[in-house]
C-alpha cells in the first residue's frame, strides 16, 4: 500500500481512469467524470482509500457523475473467483 500516499497527493487534481489501471485493492472515486474521445474517463480525483467512509459517501449525490475504480488484486490474478 506504499503508493496510497502518493495517490492522496493527487486528490483534487484532474485525472484519467487509465492512470489507475495498475493500482490494486484501493478504492478510487473520480467525480465530474466525463468520457474522452479516446474512450478514457477524465474527472477530478475525489477519493482514495483502502476503505469506503463518510468522505466517499458524500460524493454520491443526485446528479453526480462518478467513475468508480477498484481493482481487486487476487481476482485479477485469478486466485479467487465469484460464484455467479
Amino acid at each position: 500500500m506504499s503508493n496510497i500516499n502518493s495517490l492522496r497527493c493527487m486528490l483534487g487534481q484532474k485525472v484519467k481512469k487509465s492512470q489507475f489501471k495498475d493500482v490494486f485493492d484501493i478504492r478510487i472515486i473520480i467525480t465530474d467524470a466525463q468520457k474522452t474521445a479516446d474512450g478514457d474517463t477524465e474527472g477530478i480525483l475525489s477519493f482514495v482509500g483502502t476503505e469506503l467512509n463518510s468522505e466517499s459517501e458524500k460524493l454520491f449525490k443526485p446528479g453526480a457523475s462518478i467513475c468508480p475504480i477498484y481493482n481487486e488484486k487476487e481476482y485479477v490474478d485469478g486466485d479467487i473467483m465469484y460464484d455467479e
Binding site: G39, D40, Y75
Partner: protein, 214 residues
C-alpha cells in the same frame, strides 16, 4: 472508445469477457466507464451496487426504501383479494428477483418473509429492479431498460441475456488461438460489424445481411 459500432472482446487470462467501458445512470447518478462482465449464463443483468464504491452503510437506505415499497405493494395486492402467494408472484420479476449462491443448497435455501421489511433487509439474495438510462457500451447507445440492483453483494457487474438476447453475438476461437466475443445490437447492425464478422470468423458472407438487419 472506438468508432466501431460493435463490441469485440478477447477472452482474458481468467476466462472472462470483460468490458471496461460501460456507462449508465441509475439511482439518480451517472456511472462512467464501469467494468462489467459479459455472462451468457446470467438471465438478468445485475449490478452489485457496492461494486461501484458505494459503501454498505450508504446503500442501506436505498435498500430499505425498496424493501418498504415491496412490502407495501404485496400488502396492496392482498387487500385487493390476492393470496399472499399470488401477491408475491405479481411482484416477482416485475420489481424484484431472488438469486441464490451455490452454498444455499438450492431448494433448501432460507425462505424470506416478504411481508417483513427487516427480513428483506437481512437477505443478500434479493435484488430490486430499477430503471437504467443513458446506457452506453463502448460507444454503442442502448435503449433505457430495467436492470437489477443488489445492495449486499460485491461481486461482478453482470451483463446477462436479458440484454444480450437483443444482440447478434458470435463467440469463437480464431486462427492465432485467441477466443473472441464479437457482438452488435441487432437493430444497429452496420457494415463495419459485418466486415469484422468476416475478418474475424469468416462467416459474414454466409449470413444474409437482410436477415441480420431485421
Amino acid at each position: 472508445m472506438t468508432n466501431n459500432k460493435f463490441i469485440k472482446i478477447m477472452l482474458n487470462s481468467n476466462n472472462e469477457f470483460r468490458l471496461d467501458n460501460v456507462t449508465m445512470s441509475i439511482l439518480g447518478m451517472s456511472f462512467q466507464n464501469v467494468n462489467v462482465k459479459i455472462d451468457t449464463g446470467c438471465p438478468y443483468s445485475t449490478i452489485p451496487i457496492q461494486r461501484l464504491n458505494m459503501s454498505a452503510s450508504q446503500v442501506g437506505p436505498y435498500k430499505r426504501n425498496d424493501a418498504n415499497k415491496l412490502v407495501s405493494d404485496i400488502r396492496h395486492h392482498m387487500d385487493n383479494g390476492y393470496t399472499i402467494k399470488q401477491a408475491i408472484q405479481k411482484e416477482l420479476k416485475s420489481s424484484f428477483k431472488l438469486s441464490y449462491g451455490i452454498e444455499s443448497g438450492g431448494r433448501k435455501h432460507r425462505q424470506i418473509n416478504l411481508l417483513n421489511t427487516q427480513d428483506i433487509m437481512d437477505a443478500s439474495e434479493i435484488s430490486f429492479k430499477h430503471k437504467a438510462i443513458n446506457i452506453d457500451f463502448d460507444g454503442i447507445d442502448i435503449p433505457d431498460r430495467e436492470i437489477y440492483i443488489n445492495y449486499d453483494r460485491t461481486g461482478n457487474i453482470l451483463i446477462g441475456m436479458d440484454i444480450l438476447k437483443d444482440w447478434n453475438i458470435h463467440i469463437g476461437t480464431i486462427d492465432i488461438g485467441e477466443t473472441i466475443f464479437l457482438a452488435c445490437p441487432r437493430d444497429q447492425i452496420n457494415d463495419g460489424y459485418l466486415r469484422e464478422l468476416e475478418n474475424t470468423f469468416h462467416i459474414a458472407s454466409n449470413i444474409n445481411a437482410l436477415i441480420v438487419r431485421q
